[in-house]
């Protein structure tokens, strides 16, 4: 039986072969993507206004708080299972918040 190192070395060799054998089409598209990226080098980046971003984060947080903590009116959603509906909304909002936080973090790192 191969050791972990022998096993991973063999995998690396195989992946290197795959990398070498990329089709002409993929190579050309990668080159085009690279040229496009380099052409953007000296163009001013269109940045997210921090004020708007923070406002968006604030609104998203407020919406999450509202969903989680405000009392629901009896009979407001008579035809649905309220727990399931609210849980699904929570997950969507959390996803959006995570994404927004990632974007803000990326901008914060770029400003360093």
């Amino acid at each position: 039986m191969k050791t972990d190192k022998e096993f991973t070395d063999e995998i690396r060799r195989t992946l290197d072969e795959v990398e070498t054998d990329l089709s002409t089409d993929v190579r050309e598209r990668l080159s085009a993507a690279r040229r496009e990226a380099i052409s953007q080098l000296n163009q001013p980046a269109r940045r997210l206004n921090p004020g708007w971003a923070l406002s968006g984060a604030g609104l998203a947080t407020a919406a999450l708080v509202a969903v989680l903590f405000l009392p629901t009116q009896p009979g407001a959603l008579p035809e649905f299972n309220q727990a399931e509906t609210v849980a699904a909304m929570d997950m969507e909002l959390l996803d959006d918040l995570e994404l927004l936080i990632w974007i803000l973090e990326e901008d914060a790192i770029a400003d360093l």
Binding site: L30, Q40, Q43
Partner: protein, 180 residues
């Protein structure tokens, strides 16, 4: 071409194929993988070209992994939206990857398409949980140290060791016929 542009160009030439390979393993679709690499290049050039050259590689792979994670997140969201339709409609809309379809096929000639060790490896890598896959590819293929991988993945070195160990264990299990 300015000095920075020339250096960035050389750097991207050096990482673009590996970046594409990692994205391809993660999303199993050529067009999506190319989009992910293109977005990664654009973000690196626009936002991080002023960073020291030594930081470009970890930044490139960090952005790549974030873009892959975002791709999966968006796909999950899309699938949720389509789940509002009937099951039949959803089944037609959702991607079924070629390799998975071939593996699960009842027809021997189609199953034989994934008989090569390389394709089995690609399938096994694709089937790893996202963090294990990222850790394994960065450590094994890109050759990053535990510390570099932890920095790129924004997690602890202990997590990197755990993900890597579990990935190797799963790959050994999946590839035991050809690779052990």
């Amino acid at each position: 071409m300015t000095s920075t542009a020339a250096k960035l160009n050389q750097f991207l030439i050096g990482v673009e194929k590996k970046g594409f390979g990692m994205a391809q393993v993660a999303v199993n679709n050529t067009d999506d993988a190319l989009d992910i690499v293109q977005n990664t290049m654009l973000t690196l050039v626009k936002k991080y070209s002023n960073k020291p050259e030594s930081e470009w590689a970890p930044l490139f792979f960090r952005i790549l992994q974030n873009n892959i994670t975002d791709f999966h997140r968006k796909k999950t969201r899309t699938n949720k939206i389509f789940s509002w339709f009937s099951n039949n409609e959803r089944d037609q809309i959702l991607d079924v990857t070629d390799l998975h379809a071939a593996r699960d096929s009842d027809q021997p000639e189609i199953r034989s398409e994934i008989n090569s060790a390389t394709e089995k490896l690609q399938l096994a890598l694709h089937d790893l949980p996202e963090r294990q896959q990222q850790t394994f590819l960065l450590r094994c293929w890109e050759g990053m140290s535990v510390a570099e991988t932890a920095q790129t993945m924004q997690c602890s070195e202990g997590s990197v060791k755990t993900h890597y160990s579990r990935a190797i264990h799963k790959l050994r299990d999946q590839l035991k016929d050809e690779w052990l």
